[in-house]
C-alpha cells in the first residue's frame, strides 16, 4: 500500500470509532487523544480495527507510535 492508501485506511477506521470526526479536518500531526479526544476505549477499538484490517498486532507499548496519522502511516508501512 502507498502511504496515501495507508493514511486513507487509518482515517477510515478512526472515523468508524469516532463518527463525528470529519476526515478533511484531521491533520497529519493531530494526536488521537490530545487533539481528537479519543479515550482509552476508543484507542483500543481503533487498535482492534487496525489489527483486523492489516493483521498488525500492535502491542500496548507501541500505542505511542500510532498516536497521529503521520506516525501511524510510518508504523503500518514498517509492520506491513
Amino acid at each position: 500500500m502507498t502511504p496515501q492508501e495507508l493514511k486513507a485506511a487509518f482515517i477510515e477506521e478512526l472515523i468508524k470509532v469516532a463518527p463525528d470526526i470529519e476526515a478533511d479536518m484531521v491533520g497529519d500531526d493531530d494526536h488521537i487523544q490530545d487533539d481528537l479526544e479519543l479515550d482509552s476505549m476508543d484507542v483500543l477499538n481503533l487498535v482492534t480495527a487496525l489489527h483486523a484490517r492489516f493483521g498488525v498486532d500492535i502491542p500496548e507499548s507501541d500505542y505511542p507510535q500510532i498516536a497521529t496519522p503521520a506516525l501511524a502511516v510510518a508504523y503500518l508501512a514498517k509492520s506491513g
Binding site: 487523544q33 479526544e37 482509552s40 476505549m41 483500543l44 482492534t48 487496525l50 498486532d57
Partner: protein, 407 residues
C-alpha cells in the same frame, strides 16, 4: 411510553421493532424512541402476542401513554386475524359469567414492583401524587399525567413536579419562555437539559458527602500490562474494567452504597448493576450499567463495557439501561486531573469518582519509592449511610485492587 428517568416527560416514536402477530417476551426490543438522551430502545415487560400498534411513527407521546397492545396467553384474542385499527378491543363480552378479567397489557408497562426499583410512570387516569406535588403542579400548570413519579409505586413527589418543569420550562408558559421557543433545540441542547435536570435534582435533594483514598495502582498496572502482552487487541483489558470490577465487589460487600433511594428510604439491592459513565463525543454523558457486575469476570466486565460504550456512542441504549443502575463508576481516564468528587445519579445513593493515575512518592516500610497511584473518591448520600461505611467501601476497593489476579 416508559419513564427513562425522573426528568423524562415524553418521547417520540421513531421506529417499530415489532408488528402485529409477533410473539414477544420480557426484554425484547419493541420500539425505538427519541428522547433527550438520544435514541433509546424500548423493551417489552410482558409476554404475549402483539395485537395492535396504537401509536404512530413520529408521534410525541407523554410518559405513560400506551404504544401498543399485547395480549397475554389465552387472553381475549380476537377471532378475526386482522385487527380493527382504531378502538382498543373491548374485554370479552360475557355479561353474566364472572370470567377472570385479564386486562390487556401495554407493551411498555413499567416493570412490576418486585423488579428493580426503577422510577415508574402511571397512566393518566390513575395518577398517584403527594398533596404537595398536586398543589405545586396546579400552581405551575403541569399535567400530572405527564410527570414520572419516583415515590412508592410511582407516586409523584414534589421534586418530580419541579424536576419536570425544570426539564422543560417552555411547557407551562408560567416559567420564563425564551423568545426563540419555536426553534427546535439541538440533540445536544436536549441532552444538556436532561443532565441539568437530573444533576440539579441530585444536588437539591441528596445531602452528599465525600470520602477519598489514594491507593497504590502499581500491582494492577503491572498485572494488566502482563495480561495484555499475551492478548490480541480484541481481547485486551482496560484499567477501567478493573475499576468497575473492584467497585462491584466492594458494593456487594458494603450494601449501604448500593441500590436506590425511593419513598424516603434506601432500597438496597443484592445485585450490583454498575453504571459506567460514558462521555459522549461532542458532549453529554450517559451511565448505562454492567448488569449483575458482582458475578462477572474481568473479561466479561470488559466485554460488557465495550458493548455499552459502542452502543452509547451509536445512540442505541436500552430503556432499562437508563434506569436500572445501582451505583455509578466515573473515571477520568489515563491522563488529567488527579481526583473527582462526582454528583450522585438519582435515585442511586453513591458514585465512585476515579481520578487519572499519577506517579507519586509512596512510603513503603521506611522507604519512599515512586509508585503509580490513583485517588478514588466516593460520593455518598448521607441519608443512607455514614462515613464509616463509605470508608469501608474504599478500604475494600483498595484491598481488591492489590490482588488484580483475583478480580
Amino acid at each position: 411510553m416508559p419513564s427513562l428517568g425522573a426528568d423524562m416527560e415524553d418521547g417520540t416514536l421513531v421506529e417499530w421493532m415489532i408488528k402485529p402477530g409477533d410473539t414477544v417476551k420480557r426484554g425484547d426490543v419493541a420500539a425505538v424512541v427519541e428522547t433527550q438522551k438520544g435514541a433509546i430502545e424500548i423493551e417489552v415487560f410482558e409476554e404475549g402476542t402483539v395485537h395492535q400498534l396504537t401509536a404512530e411513527l413520529g408521534q410525541k407521546l407523554p410518559v405513560g401513554a400506551p404504544l401498543a397492545l399485547i395480549l397475554g396467553q389465552g387472553e381475549a384474542a380476537p377471532d378475526t386475524p386482522p385487527a380493527p385499527p382504531e378502538p382498543v378491543p373491548a374485554p370479552p363480552s360475557a355479561p353474566s359469567s364472572p370470567a377472570p378479567t385479564v386486562e390487556p397489557t401495554v407493551a411498555e408497562a413499567p416493570p412490576r414492583p418486585a423488579a428493580a426499583p426503577t422510577p415508574v410512570a402511571r397512566p393518566p387516569q390513575d395518577v398517584a401524587a403527594s398533596p404537595a406535588a398536586r398543589r405545586r403542579a396546579a400552581e405551575l400548570g403541569v399535567d400530572l399525567a405527564t410527570v414520572a413519579g419516583t415515590g412508592l409505586g410511582g407516586a409523584i413527589q414534589l421534586a418530580d413536579v419541579e424536576g419536570a418543569v425544570g426539564a422543560a420550562p417552555a411547557k407551562t408558559g408560567t416559567a420564563a419562555v425564551p423568545a426563540h421557543e419555536a426553534v427546535k433545540p439541538s440533540p445536544m441542547a436536549e441532552m444538556r437539559k436532561a443532565i441539568a435536570a437530573a444533576m440539579s435534582r441530585s444536588k437539591r435533594e441528596i445531602p452528599h458527602f465525600y470520602v477519598s483514598q489514594t491507593i497504590d495502582l502499581t500491582p494492577a498496572a503491572q498485572w494488566l500490562e502482563a495480561a495484555n502482552a499475551d492478548r490480541r487487541p480484541s481481547e485486551r483489558l482496560l484499567m477501567g474494567a478493573l475499576f468497575v470490577r473492584a467497585s462491584a465487589l466492594a458494593a456487594a460487600r458494603i450494601k449501604a452504597v448500593n441500590g436506590h433511594y425511593t419513598n424516603d428510604a434506601h432500597v438496597s439491592s443484592d445485585t450490583v448493576h454498575a453504571g459506567v459513565a460514558v462521555a459522549l463525543r461532542g458532549g453529554g454523558l450517559v451511565a448505562p450499567p454492567v448488569f449483575d457486575a458482582q458475578d462477572k469476570t474481568v473479561d466479561e466486565t470488559m466485554a460488557a463495557m465495550r458493548d455499552l460504550v459502542t452502543r452509547a456512542r451509536a445512540g442505541r441504549l436500552r430503556g432499562s439501561e437508563l434506569t436500572m443502575g445501582t451505583i455509578t463508576i466515573s473515571a477520568l481516564g489515563d491522563t488529567g486531573a488527579e481526583a473527582m468528587s462526582g454528583v450522585i445519579f438519582p435515585p442511586q445513593v453513591a458514585l465512585v469518582g476515579i481520578g487519572a493515575p499519577q506517579k507519586r512518592p509512596w512510603v513503603t516500610g521506611d522507604r519512599v519509592v515512586p509508585r503509580k497511584t490513583v485517588t478514588v473518591t466516593l460520593s455518598v448520600d448521607h441519608r443512607v449511610c455514614d462515613g464509616r461505611q463509605a470508608a469501608r467501601f474504599l478500604a475494600a476497593f483498595d484491598d481488591l485492587m492489590q490482588s488484580p489476579e483475583a478480580l
